[in-house]
């Protein structure tokens, strides 16, 4: 057996995929463990957003008129366009995972960058929506059109008076809280996507191992789902 004797001593990464952690039996088990962990994280996220959805349910039930007036002031056209943009970013994310599964490295990078681009468009639109409501609150003098809850809140912009104006402030508290937490998730998602795109560009993934692409995909799709509920609940209350 001269050939065998001439072989170097076996190293820790011989005979298995370099991405395989040693405490897993194989890449399949490792991938399932990662996916389960990600799904448990998402389950936690559902309850994280769940508190806001529960608060929304209670207050919308109590103040339907103020919620309707607040909702009608939001531009459903902008919300509609942004919904399509975000759904589009979910499509490019799904195609990035698909490209990784069939080993198309350049396409993985391209689709992730497209996802980031569409996500940035969404956030850019959100910025202008926020600015329209926040800008009138700044500075001295009249604050006509200010829709930030507080002393400067302008209920007359919603054609509301008295207590209804106060109730509308609750709608806008929930509007900023829910869309803000959603936008924060997207802002956190962008650098993660950039990291994964860089790893993909360096050839770290293959049809056998591309779990990180799949996991960031799960996160991005979850954020899409939150918006799928926010859009009708905030922008489309009642008949328009």
């Amino acid at each position: 057996m001269p050939e065998l004797a001439a072989e170097a001593a076996p190293g820790p990464h011989d005979h298995h995929h370099p991405a395989l952690q040693h405490h897993f039996v194989d890449l399949g088990q490792q991938r399932e463990a990662a996916a389960l962990g990600m799904w448990v994280f998402i389950a936690q996220e559902v309850l994280f957003f769940g508190g806001l959805f529960a608060a929304y349910t209670v207050y919308r039930h109590q103040y339907p008129a103020a919620f309707s007036a607040g909702s009608h002031h939001l531009s459903w056209k902008i919300g509609f366009a942004n919904t399509l943009v975000l759904i589009g970013s979910s499509l490019t994310m799904a195609l990035a995972v698909y490209s990784a599964a069939i080993g198309k490295k350049i396409r993985v990078v391209g689709f992730i960058l497209a996802t980031i681009l569409l996500g940035s468009v969404f956030l850019g639109v959100k910025y202008f929506e926020y600015r329209e409501k926040i800008a009138p609150c700044l500075g001295d003098g009249p604050h006509a059109g200010c829709l930030v809850p507080g002393d400067r809140f302008d209920a007359s912009a919603l054609h509301l008076t008295g207590a209804e104006g106060g109730h509308a402030q609750i709608f806008f508290s929930l509007y900023f809280g829910m869309t803000g937490l959603h936008a924060l998730h997207m802002i956190i998602g962008v650098p993660i996507l950039l990291t994964i795109a860089t790893m993909a560009g360096r050839g770290r993934f293959s049809p056998e191992y591309h779990t990180p692409v799949e996991m960031v995909g799960l996160y991005w799709h979850f954020v899409d789902i939150i918006w799928i509920f926010l859009f009708p609940l905030l922008y489309l209350i009642g008949a328009h």
Partner: protein, 100 residues
Amino acid sequence: MSEHHVVSWRVYLAVFAALCVLTVITVAVTGYDFGPLNLIVALAVAITKASLVVLFFMHARYSPKLTGVVIASSIAFFLILVFLTLTDYLSRPWPLTAAG
């Protein structure tokens, strides 16, 4: 264990098209006043869209049963959160007072 289901890109395009159509539907129904039914329709469309994303984009359809258990329990606990909150709020006088 290591079976890895690769879904055709055509499935993703079909899901995307369905999501766009459902988004148009959810906007279109606000042109009609169905009273409380508007909210029911809006939620039904949103739940359908979310299900499409979970099943196809997030591969839940092709995932182990344990993934389904986690998804089902997250929905169940969210419903418990909302349901128990409402049993409290809906059985008290409104507005709540300090003596409440």
